[in-house]
């Protein structure tokens, strides 16, 4: 047992700011089996952020003017430390003033009983902790709701009318708090029967990037529904990105813009710094193609060249964000598009496309040797005329 502490007791660290400066020895208050270890400093040290932040409580001992000045100093330290005032002059007239300036309690110091001081410190600390916990809970709820709203904006419900089409998607944010990134995707069937698809990735993480991703995704859908062709759509996004991004940061965006022909037998895609789409069924193929620079980097990259591919009957198409392939493996290498292709070969799409997409993201996450900070977005679209990928889950078609 530590001889200098009551057994099993919590030690409160209390900074005493008063007219008596620091002494060479120790000072401890014992009450109800708990100890309160005092460190004395002069009142002028109220702005000592390091000392204030390392304390559970601050006791201010002094008269009205000194205490109010010290409270003002403490407020500037931004430290969430409770303050108990011990007034060396009658506090009746200024106690309320001290309380409204941030003190949790005001005690008359003339004949202060140790039990009363201990109780006041204890209550102030517990009250502060309860308030802090409540604040953090409220912040967590706000953050969760904000992230949910942004995720809905980044990963919307596709607009599909063709009953032969089914889709599935999975979207995972980066990981910790405020790590939601700007990955987005969308699928729209236009009036002439063509399918327009997009997946994009705003560089960076955080609410600003996520909001920019939502803006780009909504802009893409608006342009497509308004009848803009592929070149005009990509150019529109590039212009919007330049106009909406933060002025102090050169944010850029990678993009894969895909159009499937109305007969579903071919597609064209445009790449701005992004991975190409992947054929996931009936065979798995990586469609290698040169990518233009990401949007927002230069005005000279437009228009982005298009690439054409034939589609086999009963195809399934997979689009994904960079976070699904830039995965560091145990051996130090990157998973890459080839690694993702191999996973698709081992785990081909099945009837439950949402479940399959979530399973693929799980597989990728399981391979990562490092904490995942980047968003992971995957969308799969199936043209089920051959019924090889199945259609018993009731998903797809009839949207929009």
């Amino acid at each position: 047992m530590n001889r200098s502490s009551p057994p099993g007791a919590e030690a409160y660290l209390v900074l005493v700011l008063g007219q008596v400066g620091p002494g060479p020895g120790g000072e401890v208050l014992i009450d109800q089996g708990e100890s309160f270890r005092f460190t004395r400093l002069s009142l002028g040290a109220a702005g000592d952020r390091r000392r204030v932040r390392s304390s559970d409580c601050v006791v201010l001992e002094g008269g009205r003017l000194e205490v109010l000045d010290a409270l003002d100093e403490l407020r500037r330290t931004d430290a969430a430390v409770p303050v108990v005032v011990v007034a060396t002059d009658p506090s009746g007239e200024w106690a309320v003033e001290a309380l409204s300036s941030g003190a949790q309690d005001v005690l008359d110091g003339g004949e202060l009983d140790a039990a009363l001081l201990a109780r006041s410190i204890r209550y102030a600390v517990q009250r502060q902790r309860a308030e802090q916990a409540g604040r953090e809970l409220r912040e967590a709820r706000i953050l969760r709701d904000e992230q949910a709203r942004l995720e809905r904006g980044l990963a919307p419900t596709p607009l599909l009318a063709d009953p032969e089409l089914r889709w599935g998607a999975a979207y995972r944010s980066g990981g910790g708090r405020r790590l939601l990134g700007g990955d987005f995707f969308d699928v729209v069937q236009v009036v002439d029967g063509r399918l327009r698809l997009v997946v994009g990735d705003v560089c960076g993480h955080g609410p600003d990037e996520a909001a920019l991703g939502v803006a780009l995704r909504v802009a893409w859908r608006s342009l497509v529904l308004a009848g803009a062709d592929e070149d005009a759509t990509v150019a529109g996004l590039d212009a919007l990105l330049r106009a909406e991004r933060p002025v102090d940061r050169p944010v850029f965006t990678t993009l894969c813009d895909v159009t499937v022909a109305a007969d579903r037998a071919s597609l064209t895609f445009r790449l701005a710094g992004h991975q190409p789409p992947m054929l996931a069924h009936p065979r798995v193929e990586l469609w290698e193609a040169p990518a233009s620079p990401p949007l927002g980097l230069s005005t000279s990259v437009l228009p982005v060249p298009s690439h054409h591919r034939a589609l086999p009957p009963g195809w399934a198409l997979l689009l994904h964000s960079d976070g699904l392939v830039e995965i560091h493996l145990d051996d130090g290498s990157l998973l890459g598009a080839e690694g993702l292709r191999d996973l698709v070969v081992r785990h081909p799409p099945h009837r439950d496309l949402d479940g399959w997409a979530a399973g693929m993201v799980n597989e990728v996450e399981g391979l990562s040797a490092r904490p995942l900070r980047d968003d992971r977005a995957l969308v799969v679209l199936c043209n089920d005329t051959e019924a090889e990928v199945g259609r018993t889950d009731g998903r797809g078609g009839a949207h929009g």
């Binding site: 001889r3 007219q19 020895g25 014992i30 009983d113 140790a114 009363l116």
Partner: protein, 95 residues
């Protein structure tokens, strides 16, 4: 050893604190050891000069540095630890 005890009147806590302080002196004090009991009602200036925050407060003034213990001062063993006194040894002159 010199101990000072600041109390506010003759409350139960003050009496228990004085009893514990005297017990410590009996066990650890050598020749010349003494306990000064100061009532803050009687000598407020002395309490202010010593920076007494609350009562009861026990000070080990000598040997230095000064160590202060405030509050429940009835547990002699705990006080011995808080005042950082050495373990009792067989000494002549111990009262």
């Amino acid at each position: 050893m010199v101990l000072m005890l600041f109390v506010a009147g003759r409350s139960r806590r003050a009496v228990e604190a004085e009893r514990a302080a005297r017990s410590i002196l009996d066990r650890y004090g050598g020749p010349g050891s003494r306990l000064e009991v100061i009532d803050v009602f009687v000598a407020p200036d002395q309490a202010e000069a010593a920076g007494i925050l609350a009562t009861p407060t026990l000070l080990r003034v000598s040997p230095g540095p000064t160590v202060r213990v405030i509050g429940e001062l009835d547990d002699v063993d705990l006080l011995v630890g808080l005042l950082d006194l050495p373990e009792p040894t067989d000494r002549e002159g111990a009262s």
